[in-house]
Symmetry: C2
Subunit: 366 residues, 2 copies
């Protein structure tokens, strides 16, 4: 472990202005947003995503095995195999895109969205609405070591992942063509990871994603009706009741949500109202990382090292502090495969109550 790099200085680079800074050849079919004419849902059609390397295969449900790896593009010495870094935690005086980094953020070589020059060519409406999927797609390489499981990271490296999320959100907000930056992590092939070197992703787009719009809408309605933040009210009731509380620190709390979409779903939220992750202090991020690490270690114990995703729900870029919204992380272990009822109808069935999940995780955390 490279604890000697603990005190390295972050190097924040200016945003990429146009295609010329991206070191991949232009492809015939650029990614585009398309809108479903019935539901209004936006999807991304990104043919070049099919070119990306897949060292994890479908038949490998967990994140432990990666024996078929030959050369990992995220390992030190392979920096030439990724686009130029946009953020690195590395000792002062070391070279950009050279080795000796402790954490590195690079544009995704096989992006779902990417910078475009000028107007993204949005069509004016009609049944079949589409426009270029302008935006950024970045990869947070969380450590130099080829570790598949983030719970193996020492506390300081684990914490730096959450610092990097904040640093990138602050930087991406400077690009006024972007409205939202979706931060997420896939652990294990079953959860969608294609490479076994622990990493996160950031997809920044001109559209606010549907799930965030749904949360903003629901919490906005609640605030209009009650004058309060629905997340704050939920937390007050959860902490008074206790049956779905998994663990807490001074500033943060982890709960099993009342109406989970998946068994052992966990939310981690700040106790005090806060809509913007960018505004989180170093102390909060330290506590967040400590609690997140305990939660994923607990999931590893209770569910035998499951594949999982985590994602940050925060306010859109450049929002003012919103009275109705409350940033939080959601952690979703892949305990069951969603099937026709979930995909076809949006109706999620879980076979584990959140009260049972919270009890199991509380026991595993202590």
């Amino acid at each position: 472990m490279r604890n000697d790099l603990f005190d390295s200085h972050p190097v924040i680079l200016p945003p990429v202005a146009d295609d010329t800074a991206i070191d991949h050849a232009p492809l015939a079919i650029a990614p585009e947003f398309r809108r479903d004419p019935v539901t209004g849902r936006w999807v991304i059609v990104a043919p070049e995503r099919s070119l990306r390397p897949m060292s994890l295969v479908h038949a490998e449900p967990h994140h432990r095995a990666n024996a078929e790896r030959v050369v990992c593009p995220f390992c030190p010495g392979q920096e030439y195999d990724t686009p130029n870094e946009v953020l690195a935690y590395r000792p002062a005086g070391t070279d950009r895109d050279g080795p000796d980094w402790r954490l590195r953020v690079v544009p995704n070589k096989f992006p779902a969205t990417r910078p475009t020059r000028g107007d993204p060519g949005r069509t004016s409406g009609g049944l079949f609405e589409r426009f270029a999927a302008a935006g950024r797609h970045e990869v947070v390489v969380e450590c130099p070591e080829h570790l598949p499981n983030p719970a193996q990271l020492p506390d300081d490296q684990f914490r730096d992942v959450f610092r990097a999320y904040r640093d990138r959100l602050i930087d991406l907000a400077d690009d006024h063509t972007l409205s939202y930056a979706a931060v997420f992590k896939n652990v294990g092939a079953e959860a969608g990871a294609s490479l076994g070197h622990t990493h996160s992703q950031i997809v920044a787009t001109p559209l606010v994603p549907d799930v965030i719009r749904l949360e903003l809408g629901g919490s906005g309605d609640y605030h209009t009706a009650h004058g309060r933040c629905v997340f704050c009210d939920v937390l007050e009731q959860e902490r008074a009741d206790g049956s779905r509380v998994i663990g807490e620190t001074e500033r943060m709390v982890a709960i099993a949500p009342f109406a989970p979409q998946f068994a052992y779903e966990v939310w981690v939220l700040p106790k005090a109202h806060a809509s913007r992750y960018e505004a989180a202090t170093g102390a909060m991020i330290g506590e967040l990382a400590a609690l997140m690490k305990r939660v994923v270690q607990g999931l590893d114990r209770v569910l035998a090292a499951p594949a999982y995703n985590w994602y940050l729900h925060t306010a859109p870029l450049r929002s003012a502090e919103l009275p109705q919204y409350h940033w939080h992380f959601e952690i979703i272990p892949r305990t069951a495969r969603p099937a026709g009822l979930e995909w076809g109808f949006g109706c999620f069935v879980t076979a584990v109550t959140p009260e049972r999940a919270a009890a199991d995780l509380r026991a595993a955390l202590n």
Copy 2:
């Protein structure tokens, strides 16, 4: 194959009135609907679902292997192992719940929803809204033969599956506590199937599922603005353009939708406006089945026997004919694992354009 049973008569049984007709012991924790206090999404928490037999395992992505099967509860001779049938296509004069059936619909032994006596105990609101998951959860056992792949069914048996869907919708509409019947099929473990004997499921609930509400809302807005059915307008443009049309019969058409959530997603729709599947004629169901079978055989060829789901989107139970809605089937092969961006943000990324998918499937169908 039991073609000698082709002319068997359907036996439609009266709806189950209460728990006493369900032959499983009451369990301590009944399934319940819970509403997420932020988004308003309803989920089902059904602890008894965790008791169901799983003869397909996570590491088995396709539907071909089922070597570990010992006794299949859906095979003839095992009728005692399922609750009493609510519909069967069997020769006149044969016994209910005896052998000699050609297709059989039974309540799910491990239901996500189930009949309750009287008032389901709905709470009056508040942050944590919940009520008993009253409803029905049925299994359509599509053939006596232990076949994993529905494309192996002879044409007449394949068609009877779609007749059974209609017969059950008509019957379930008589229960005025139910608002919607979700009909779907999981093929292969990757798509959520837990048993390898080809079967479909019907989950009928007092709530209209979120995806259907979204479609009814979007198509309703379109109808208000334009006075036309958005699906009819889409079909007109698709058939004029042709690039996303996969195949058609006199009355039915299969397309790759403009904004798919998954690669090789297919929709099959009637050409003429129709909102209620229950009203489909025998001729339409015959053409629907013929086209659906060609499509799944095409997917088997193009994607090497993938796992997939199909589901029927139709109007709520007891709807009048709706001018804005258009029933259809969606078929979703499991070509990629949704990951953090899809789960966390509702943003679906596909690496195959629907134009390419349609071209591949057209070639495979012809």
